[in-house]
Amino acid sequence: MSDDRFDSIVVGAGPAGVSAAIAMAKAGLKVVVLERGEYPGSKNVQGAIMYTKMIGDSVPAFWKDPQAPLERPITEQKFWLLSKDSFFQAGFKSEKWLAEPHNCYSVIRAPFDRWYAKKAEEAGAEIYTGITVSEVIKKDGQIVGVKTSEGDELLADVVIAADGVNSLLAQQAGLLDEWTPDEVALGVKEVLSLPREKLEDRFNLENGEGTTIEMFGDNTQGMMGYSFLYTNKDSVSFGVGAKLSHFQKTGIRPPDLLEYAKSHPMIRRLLKGAVSQEYSAHLIPEGGFYSMPPLYAGGFLIAGDAAQMVNPSHREGSNLAMTAGRLAGETVVEAKKKGDFSAVTLSTYQKKLEASYVIPDLMDVKDLEPLAEKHMDLIREIPELFSQVAQDYFNVDGRPKHEVMKSMLNRVLTHSGVQKTLKKEMTLKNQWILTKMALKFRFLLWKSMRGK
């Protein structure tokens, strides 16, 4: 292996790395993927929901492959606001989502990653597992290969770092500093087995369909984060995550939080009788756009978690990784045609990401987390407030409805958290922005009424 020279070395056989490898191998490039786990997926953790569009971009019509380790097509997605003893729910379920191609699937990452890596092998890439890359090899400012922890040296025109949230490779290449506890979330998770029939009855599922629930509120003990429940074929994936800096501040132990979340009266009943098959933990890069490293250098590209490509507000990450990996692969294919692997040529990777949804989405949500962090006092109170307002609405106590409505409105407007936030946010500048938005809306209304 040490004498071999490759067009590209991909470090990491996760969604980003394998997508890159498939794109390059399909174009006839000589590609090797180096994976530190004994098999692809052995180090990877995700909820996990995977999106058809992005898998299909690499493996067309994969859902027809009986070998594809898909658990359940998702036909229902729900959000819960959890107070101590209740949940307020928003969600959507559709028969349309039963038709192929499905929107998304629940998957279990270890078998999924093995299957996905096999697709790269079938396309012509070589995959070596059990190999930890320790450093990049540089020559005249250009990255020209990698060195493994066993001391082997491999050379290539381009190295793609797809080595996940702890990208020691990007750090070692000098493109990335260690992230701070503010830029990552820590998630802990269990896969809990439940007999298929019981699971389908409990979650109101038929035809092999699946459901997702994302829960916000009491289950994170005031930390910024959420828990999730995804249905697999014969098991349920349940996990909870929060910003690492919040774990640090509260001193809450992650496994204690997991058990606490599982014991919530509204969740306990969903997990009754389910037996834990595996406990896992993983970091999620949630620094977003501001935490992204430079995405390219001479002979070097970064994709996926390694480059903070996660959109936490839409619980998307592996799909961004797949798209970025594919675009990184296509960039290398083009560079190979030009015979130029300089930073200038590889910078088209950045442009491709900007033209896709990856960077625009990350740009859109870039200020969401700092904003939420600023208003954590209110966010912590919202589930309880929703619970009270919902009880006002649904309880019948003999009062006239207009009085009930008034008391609901009062409950919101006199809430100390709401008042504090209004005081903080109703600056002249923000009032001006709201007025402008109202005027713009009024203008659009006027235009549409005139039929233009």
Binding site: S42, K43, V165, L244, F247, T250, I252, E278, L283
Partner: protein, 101 residues
């Protein structure tokens, strides 16, 4: 922030569900025992590590590292306020082996 104590969970029981390929070679080391003893009152590694790799031993006056428990999340490197934790990957093929993940 709410720091109400939650019921303590037996982490060993949780780790009992995890498959490892054990390596005799430690992939985690503490750069200085003195830093933990004298300059780190909170010891966040001992609480936040999801696999309880780090344990403060009062009698030994040091943080004991059970690297074989590690499930390789990497949080410890970012958590340590003194940047005192040297956490590399285990050698290729060793360490945690998620069957589900």
């Amino acid at each position: 922030m709410n720091s109400k104590k939650l019921p303590l969970v037996n982490v060993d029981e949780k780790l009992g569900t995890v498959v490892y390929k054990a390596d005799h070679q430690a992939h985690i080391t503490l750069k200085s025992a003195d830093a933990c003893l004298n300059r780190c009152p909170d010891k966040p590694c001992a609480t936040v590590c999801p696999a309880q790799v780090y344990r403060w031993e009062e009698e030994l006056k040091k943080v004991v590292v059970s690297f074989e428990n590690c499930i390789e999340c990497g949080a410890c490197r970012m958590l340590c306020p003194l940047n005192n934790i040297e956490c590399h990957w285990p050698r290729g093929g060793f360490g945690v082996q998620y069957r589900y993940g």
